[in-house]
């Protein structure tokens, strides 16, 4: 019995048509854990909010500024935690690269012309959509492979 098991195991491991089964699901369901974590986050947020409110209630006028500062700091921290889109930076680099300099030159010139016309004679007779198209096409075309190498 055990002897044949080892042999069949060896055969199964060696055959190229061996099946690969998915792993057994984890004991804790991911939905529950996320729900718990969100609850915890919510509770901690509520606690911090309550903690921020309590001193404000005690001394309102001087604490108001401090509270604003704290909120700003918190917002900054949250912003730091947020991921930054690599696409913006890549396309900005591409827009300023030598490859796209003609398109950018035309676009900048057009924007200058149109804004001047809008301010002076009350209404420009053209728009910069086509120039924008050429610039955007050049920038995205240049950034596409770089972006795909970064994204998962």
């Amino acid at each position: 019995m055990g002897f044949w098991d080892t042999i069949t195991d060896l055969v199964e491991a060696a055959t190229p048509w061996a099946t690969a089964d998915a792993e057994a699901p984890a004991q804790e369901l991911p939905e529950e854990t996320t729900a718990e974590s969100t609850k915890e986050e919510a509770s901690t947020e509520a606690e911090t909010a309550a903690a921020a409110e309590e001193p404000a209630a005690e001394e309102e006028e001087p604490a108001a500024e401090e509270q604003e500062e704290e909120e700003e700091e918190e917002e900054e921290e949250e912003e730091e935690e947020e991921p930054v889109d690599p696409k913006e930076q890549l396309e900005e680099d591409c827009r300023n690269s030598k490859q796209c300099s003609p398109a950018k030159h035309h676009f900048d010139e057009c924007v200058e012309r149109v804004t001047a016309a809008e301010s002076s004679e009350g209404g420009a007779k053209e728009d910069c959509v086509e120039e924008f198209f050429h610039l955007a096409h050049c920038a995205t075309e240049c950034a596409a492979p770089k972006l795909w190498s970064i994204l998962k």
Binding site: E82, V111, E118, A124, C128, F132, T140, L147
Partner: protein, 324 residues
């Protein structure tokens, strides 16, 4: 007369065939003969006229059909979507099912509030995006009409795997009313239904500029998006960095979410893609095996013919010359 005309025509033909040498020959011959003194001038006129007609017909054709007439301005056409190197579009690559799972999360949390996905049933998620239990739990979150009971009443029951994803609006009119007159299209087949496919969707989702270019005419209630035909789209930018929290910890940047949801929508449009590519691989395997077998069989069947040797066995004679 006939002989002379024949001669001239053959000369002209030869002159057409290779120009310079024949022309000099002809000039020499004509000057020597003197009888056909007018022919070079007439030939030159004929050649020049034929050339003029040829060039003129080309120019006329180009004048008539050459320049393409576009009915729409580039802005009305929309910016052509940039091609991105999608991995799942390669011949021997499948969908990245982790990306599909992320993309479905983005659809559910972001897109589903306006866009329906009405041709996709819950059962199709099983094994591709979700596990059976997850798909069942998801189906049970929504209620569906039952068959009429004994009294003819239609009751509500929790969803099953065989049900289709619910639409956010009851009908198109309700969708238009809720969205300022614009109808959010059903996304089941949107990748197949739009020129540019995945590239168009990705570019559209990520292509909202921070401000419209100078002088652009953006209608009331519309947003500027260069990739949308006409550049005025009723859908505002929806994807912002960190909008969704991925369960696998992938940083949820705008372009990452757009990429995932685009791949998910491609799956929704052609869920058979993985199987189709595997079928193609099977076809290649089977045909290559059959071709190899046919080559060997041909060699076997032709062996007697290819390996035969034809020998001329001369009749045995003595070497003396024959006498008649």
């Amino acid at each position: 007369m006939l002989a002379r005309s024949c001669l001239r025509s053959t000369r002209a033909f030869a002159g057409l065939r290779n120009g310079a040498v024949q022309i000099t020959k002809r000039a020499a011959s004509s000057s020597s003969s003197g009888s056909t003194a007018e022919s070079p001038l007439r030939l030159n006129i004929a050649a020049a006229a034929a050339t003029a007609v040829a060039a003129g017909s080309v120019a006329w054709y180009y004048h008539l059909y050459g320049p393409t007439a576009d009915a729409a301005t580039p802005a009305e056409e929309g910016l052509h979507p940039t091609h991105y190197p999608w991995v799942h579009q390669q011949w021997f690559k499948t969908f990245d099912h982790q990306a599909l799972r992320r993309g479905f999360q983005v659809y559910r949390e972001v897109c589903a509030s306006c866009h329906s996905l009405s041709r996709v049933p819950y059962r199709s998620f099983v094994g591709t995006i979700l596990t059976v239990d997850e798909a069942k739990a998801l189906a049970e979150e929504n209620e569906y009409d039952t068959e009429p009971n004994d009294q003819g009443e239609i009751e509500q029951r929790p969803g099953k795997l065989s049900d289709y994803l619910p639409a956010p609006y009851k009908n198109d009119e309700a969708a238009r009313f809720a969205n300022n007159g614009a109808l959010p299209p059903d996304l089941s087949l949107i990748v197949k239904a739009r020129h540019g496919g995945c590239d168009y969707i990705f570019n559209l989702l990520t292509g909202y500029p921070e401000e419209a270019p100078a002088g652009a005419n953006v209608g009331a209630g519309l947003n500027f998006n260069p990739y949308f035909p006409g550049t005025g789209i009723a859908m505002a930018r929806v994807l912002y960095d960190g909008l969704v929290e991925y369960e696998d910890g992938t940083p949820a940047t705008t372009s990452q979410m757009a990429k995932d949801v685009t791949e998910f929508l491609n799956w929704a449009a052609e869920p058979e893609m993985d199987d189709r590519k595997r079928m193609g691989m099977k076809v290649l395997v089977v045909t290559s095996v059959l071709f190899a077998m046919s080559v060997w069989v041909k060699r076997y069947k032709w062996a007697w013919l290819k390996s035969r040797k034809i020998v001329y066995d001369p009749p045995k004679t003595d070497n003396s010359p024959r006498r008649f």
